[in-house]
C-alpha cells in the first residue's frame, strides 16, 4: 500500500497526464494552425526551421570486404548464350531441314502412289481388253461350234394372252 506522500505524487503524476484546460486550448490552437492551408504554404514553409547540418563523422567507416566470385558468372552467361544459340539454330536451320525432309518423303510417297495408280489403271484396261477379246462373236461362235452348238434353225414365239395369270406350281403350268 503506498504511503500518502507517494499517493500524492502519483495523483500529481496522473494529473499531469490529463491535460489541463489551458493545455487543451493551446493544443486546439496548434491543431487549427497546422490544418490550415496556409500552414504548408510558402510562408509557413519559410517559417519552418532548417535542419541542422549533420556533424561530420569523426571516424571513417570500416572497410567492407566483398568476396567476389568472378569465375562463376561468365560460365553461366556462356551457357545461357549457348542455349539460346542452340534454340535459334534449331529453329532457323534444323527445323526447316526436318520439314523439308518430311515433305520430300511425302512427295516421294505421292509419286510412288501415283505410279501405282497409273499401273493399276493400265492393268484394269488390259484386263478389260482381254475380256473383250474373249467375248467377241467370232470366238463365241468358234467355242460354240467346238461344243457342238449350232444357231437355231427356227425360232418359235409364244403368244401369251393378256389377263392370263400364270404361276409356278399351279395346275395351269404343270397341266396336272
Amino acid at each position: 500500500m503506498p504511503t500518502a506522500s507517494r499517493q500524492t505524487w502519483m495523483d500529481a503524476w496522473e494529473g499531469d497526464l490529463n491535460p489541463s484546460a489551458a493545455a487543451r486550448r493551446s493544443a486546439a490552437r496548434v491543431g487549427a494552425r497546422t490544418s490550415a492551408t496556409r500552414y504548408y504554404g510558402r510562408e509557413a514553409t519559410a517559417r519552418l526551421p532548417k535542419p541542422a547540418p549533420e556533424a561530420p563523422r569523426s571516424q571513417p567507416l570500416a572497410e567492407v570486404k566483398v568476396r567476389t566470385t568472378g569465375r562463376t558468372r561468365p560460365w553461366f552467361m556462356l551457357a545461357g548464350v549457348a542455349a539460346v544459340a542452340l534454340i535459334l539454330l534449331t529453329v532457323v536451320y534444323i527445323l526447316p531441314v526436318m520439314m523439308n525432309s518430311s515433305t520430300t518423303d511425302l512427295e516421294a510417297a505421292t509419286g510412288r502412289l501415283q505410279s501405282k495408280q497409273t499401273e493399276l489403271v493400265r492393268a484394269g484396261a488390259d484386263l478389260s481388253a482381254q475380256v473383250a477379246g474373249l467375248s467377241t462373236p467370232q470366238r463365241v461362235a468358234e467355242v460354240a461350234t467346238k461344243l457342238g452348238l449350232q444357231p437355231a434353225a427356227s425360232v418359235h414365239y409364244l403368244q401369251i394372252n393378256a389377263g392370263m395369270a400364270v404361276a409356278e406350281g399351279t395346275a395351269t403350268v404343270a397341266n396336272r
Binding site: T104, A125, Q138, A152
Partner: protein
C-alpha cells in the same frame, strides 16, 4: 616525338591482301549478280522435269456396250546414244532380248543424237526384260496402243489410229477429238539421283470419252460372215452389206469384204481399207426403179394397178432398151408387175411419162447425188449428170438405174424412207452424238403403196429368195452392168448384184442392203444377193426379238 619508319614488307603484305580482297569481292559480285540469272536457269533446268501426262483414249463400243476398240499399255524402248559407252555390246545384248536385228540396233545406237526409238509399242514382258538389263542410256517407257479385240470385225468402219494414237481413218478419225481427250503436264523438282522432291505444277490429263456406236456386234458379225460366204461362193470381187433402222437412221451393221484385221491395218491395201458402203458409188441398176415409180405415184400419173402395154424393147433416140430376160413381144403389165418383174422397158416407159425434171426432183428428195452427212469421213455423194446436161437418151437410162451412181448407203437410206412412211432420216453411226435430221421424201400414201408393191416383188417377183420364214419382206433386186474402163461401154461380164429390202413389210423395223461386186459364177441379184439378205434378216430379227408377222 617517335619517328615513324616505313615498313616495306608490311606494305607489300597489305597490298597483296587488298588485291586478294578486291579479287574475291569481284568474283563474288560476278557469281552473285552478273552470272546469277544464267546459273539459276541452268540449275532450274537440271532439277525441274516437265513430263507430259498422256490422256487415255476412249473406248469404242457397240450399241450394247461390247468393246470394239480399247487401249492397251505397251512398252517402248528408247536410247540416248550419247550415254552408250559400248554400242556394239549393247546392241548385241538388246538384239537377243528384243529379237531384232543387231545391225539395225547398232545403226540407231551410233547416231549422233540424244534420243532415238529402238522399238515402239512392243510386248510389255519384253520391255521388262530390257529394263532388267539396267543398261545406262537405255530407257523403257509405257505407251498406249489401240487394240481391236474383235480383230477384223467392222474394221473398215472403225478405221485405225497412228503410232501417236491419232485417228487416221473411219470412226477413229471422225470422232478423234472426242476419243483423244487432252494431255496433261506435270513439272516436278528432282534431286541428282532423280528422286522426286516436289511437284511444282500439275495440269491433269483429261481422258477421252467412250463412244457408243449404233452398231450391233452380233448383227455386224453375221453380216460379215454372210457376205464373206457370198464372195467365196460366187467368186466375187467384194461385197458390202448395210443393216439400218429406218425409223431412227441408226446403222446396225455396215459390213465390207475382205475382212481386214484392224490390229494389222497397215498391212492391208487401200482397196481393202475402204468402207465401200460410204465412200464408193456404183450404178444401182433395177433397185433404182423404185425411185422412178415413186415419182410417178407422187405425181399421180399412175397407181399401182395402172396397166401398160409394153413391147420387148423400147427405143429412145438411138438407144434401144432391152429386158434382162426373154419376154413376149407384147405384154400388159401393171406398175406393180413392172416393179415385181423388174421390167426395164416398163421403167423407161414410166420414166418418160414422169419426165426429166420430176425424176431429178425425186432423185434429190431421196437423198441421191448429195452427201447424207453420215458421221464417217470420206462420204461420197454419187454421180449424176446435171439436169441441163442430160442427153436425149439419159431419160432412157436413169429410170432403170443406169447413168447414175449412188452409194450403198444412199440406196439403203432411200429405201428406209419408204419403210418409214416416206420420211428420210439421216443415217448415223454414233449412238448419242448425232441429232439426225429428217425430211419427207414422199407422202405416206405413196410410201405405203411402194411397200405393197415391193412385197409383191418378193412374194411373186424376182425377190423370192429374199423371203424370211415367218415374216413378210418387201424389197427389190438389182443387177447392174459395170462399165468397161477400156471401152467405156457396159460390160456383159461384169455386174453388181444387189438386193435391198425391208422387214417386216407392214411395219418395217429393218432395212437391209446387200451388194456383191462382180460375182463370177452367177450375176443376178435375185440369186446372189437376195439369199444373203434373207440370212442376215433372219438373224437380225431373232437377235432383236422382232416377232413374226406372217403365217407360213
Amino acid at each position: 616525338m617517335t619517328a615513324r619508319r616505313f615498313n616495306k614488307r608490311l606494305a607489300v603484305f597489305m597490298g597483296t591482301a587488298l588485291l586478294v580482297l578486291v579479287f574475291l569481292f569481284g568474283m563474288t559480285f560476278y557469281w552473285q549478280v552478273i552470272a546469277a540469272p544464267k546459273l539459276r536457269a541452268e540449275a532450274s533446268q537440271q532439277s525441274r522435269v516437265t513430263k507430259t501426262l498422256p490422256a487415255n483414249r476412249g473406248a469404242i463400243t457397240d450399241r450394247n456396250g461390247e468393246q470394239l476398240a480399247v487401249s492397251k499399255t505397251m512398252a517402248t524402248v528408247t536410247a540416248n546414244p550419247k550415254q552408250i559407252k559400248d554400242p556394239a555390246a549393247v546392241a548385241a545384248q538388246l538384239a537377243t532380248v528384243m529379237s531384232v536385228s543387231q545391225d539395225d540396233l547398232l545403226a540407231k545406237l551410233t547416231k549422233k543424237t540424244g534420243f532415238v526409238y529402238l522399238a515402239r509399242k512392243i510386248d510389255p514382258s519384253i520391255g521388262d526384260r530390257v529394263k532388267a538389263l539396267k543398261i545406262e542410256g537405255i530407257e523403257v517407257i509405257s505407251e498406249e496402243m489401240r487394240y481391236y479385240p474383235a480383230g477384223s470385225l467392222a474394221s473398215q468402219l472403225l478405221g485405225f489410229v497412228g503410232l501417236d494414237n491419232v485417228g487416221l481413218a473411219g470412226v477413229e478419225k471422225e470422232y478423234n477429238t472426242v476419243l483423244a481427250g487432252t494431255a496433261g503436264k506435270m513439272t516436278v523438282v528432282k534431286d541428282l539421283k532423280g528422286n522426286r522432291l516436289a511437284t511444282e505444277s500439275v495440269q491433269e490429263a483429261v481422258p477421252g470419252a467412250d463412244l457408243k456406236l449404233t452398231i450391233d456386234e452380233d448383227i455386224q458379225f453375221e453380216a460379215e460372215k454372210v457376205i464373206n460366204e457370198v464372195v467365196t461362193t460366187y467368186h466375187a470381187k467384194k461385197a458390202c452389206a448395210i443393216v439400218m433402222d429406218p425409223k431412227t437412221g441408226e446403222i446396225l451393221a455396215m459390213a465390207n469384204t475382205p475382212g481386214v484385221d484392224a490390229n494389222q491395218y497397215g498391212s492391208a491395201t487401200d482397196a481393202e481399207q475402204r468402207n465401200s458402203a460410204v465412200v464408193d458409188s456404183y450404178e444401182p441398176g433395177s433397185t433404182f426403179k423404185m425411185v422412178t415409180v415413186a415419182a410417178a405415184l407422187e405425181k399421180k400419173l399412175v397407181t399401182p394397178d395402172t396397166k401398160f402395154e409394153l413391147g420387148s424393147t423400147i427405143t429412145v433416140y438411138d438407144r434401144v432398151v432391152h429386158e434382162a430376160h426373154a419376154v413376149a413381144s407384147k405384154r400388159n403389165l401393171t406398175v406393180t408387175q413392172i416393179l415385181a418383174q423388174s421390167s426395164n422397158v416398163g421403167a423407161v416407159t414410166i420414166g418418160l411419162q414422169v419426165g426429166k425434171s420430176a425424176l431429178v426432183d425425186m432423185i434429190k428428195r431421196f437423198g441421191f447425188t448429195q452427201k447424207l452427212g453420215i458421221d464417217f469421213p470420206g462420204e461420197t455423194k454419187g454421180i449424176m449428170p446435171a439436169a441441163e446436161r442430160w442427153s436425149g437418151t439419159t431419160i432412157a437410162n436413169v429410170p432403170m438405174g443406169q447413168g447414175i451412181s449412188v452409194t450403198p448407203l444412199q440406196l439403203a437410206t432411200a429405201y428406209s424412207a419408204i419403210a418409214n412412211g416416206g420420211v428420210l432420216v439421216q443415217p448415223h453411226l454414233a449412238k448419242d452424238a448425232v441429232k439426225p435430221w429428217s425430211r419427207e421424201a414422199v407422202s405416206s400414201t405413196v410410201a405405203a403403196e411402194l411397200r405393197e408393191m415391193l412385197t409383191v416383188t418378193v412374194e411373186d417377183g424376182t425377190g423370192k429368195r429374199a423371203r424370211v420364214a415367218g415374216y413378210e419382206v418387201a424389197g427389190k433386186t438389182g443387177t447392174a452392168q459395170k462399165i468397161d474402163p477400156k471401152t467405156g461401154k457396159y460390160d456383159n461380164n461384169r455386174y453388181v448384184s444387189s438386193f435391198v429390202g425391208m422387214v417386216p413389210a407392214a411395219a418395217p423395223q429393218l432395212v437391209i442392203l446387200v451388194t456383191v461386186d462382180e460375182p463370177a459364177s452367177a450375176h443376178l441379184g435375185a440369186y446372189v444377193a437376195a439369199p444373203a439378205f434373207s440370212q442376215i434378216a433372219s438373224f437380225a430379227l431373232k437377235t432383236l426379238g422382232i416377232p413374226p408377222t406372217a403365217q407360213d
